[in-house]
């Protein structure tokens, strides 16, 4: 097996890259993942709480959360703290692609907003 890969870059790329990257400190910093996702999750969780409450009131308690397609959102609603924020790290259920897809579809959250939920550390 060869170490040569046959990949290349445009001419003068690395000099331009350094200049571009060194301009980052002057740019506006994007909001963090927590800042981006928290309002969406809080909204989704609020809807889930209302749906669950409605379900209880109207006597549909027999239907499971899973049958309603709200399992992940309901799970998140349990993580709602008194200030209405979600502890993002309390999402161990979202480990497989299928889980993530279900969550995205159920909550209508764009995939971009799940950036950094995994492999994220306290750098």
């Amino acid at each position: 097996m060869t170490k040569k890969t046959g990949i290349s870059v445009p001419e003068g790329y690395f000099a331009k890259l350094q200049t571009r990257l060194q301009s980052i400190p002057g740019q506006e910093v994007k909001p963090t993942a927590v800042q981006k996702v928290a309002p969406w999750l809080a909204y989704a969780a609020s809807l889930a709480v209302l749906a669950a409450l409605g379900n209880f009131i109207f006597g549909r308690a027999a239907a499971t959360e899973e049958e309603m397609g709200l399992d992940y959102i309901s799970y998140l609603s349990q993580s709602l703290d008194p200030d209405g924020q979600i502890e993002l790290m309390e999402m161990p259920a979202l480990t497989e692609e299928d889980d993530i897809c279900s969550f995205l579809i159920a909550s209508n959250i764009p995939v971009e907003q799940l950036t950094e939920l995994d492999y994220e550390e306290d750098y």
Binding site: M1, T2, K3, K4, T5, G6, I7, S8, V9, P10, F14, L17, Q18, R20, L21, Q22, I24, P25, Q27, V29, K30, T32, E97, D98, I100, C101, L104, I105, V111, E112, L114, T115, E116, D118, Y119, E120, E121, D122, Y123
Partner: protein, 171 residues
Amino acid sequence: MENLEQVFNQIVKDYSERLYWHVRRMVGTHEDADDLLQDIFLKIWTALPSFRGEAQLYTWVWRIATNETLNWLRRERVRAALRFQSIDAELERRILADPYFNGTDAQRELFKALSRLPEKQRQVFVMRWWDELSYEQISAITGTSVGALKASYHIAQEKLKLNLSQAEVSK
């Protein structure tokens, strides 16, 4: 702040090219690698004030780069799943269309085989084979034990050999 900028500029100078090649081998195409590298250095700049020196700067920078790369691959996998497509096929398609790939057929097959490895195996293989990091360095960056890394590397190497021999047979 000025001091932070100086440190950041030095990080860009010291690491940008090496990290580019790492990211490029992980994601396949120049365009994706270029975009991802921008995100990685933005992350480094954002996190720099909280760097406390508990890890070596080298380890810290590489850790951010490898985590961001795995996140990117995972997002791409989810995007592909939402479109009912295979991420392997999508990455292969992008590699074939990349204007900055001018290798031989064998090298193209190697890249395609690499894109079919699970992300973490691909990561260990790229870091050891091409980035030439020691197992101890990879361990410090990824937080995985040296024993587990050696096992992952061996499995990745065997899978690549198998994929390459199958590609040869199918010609």
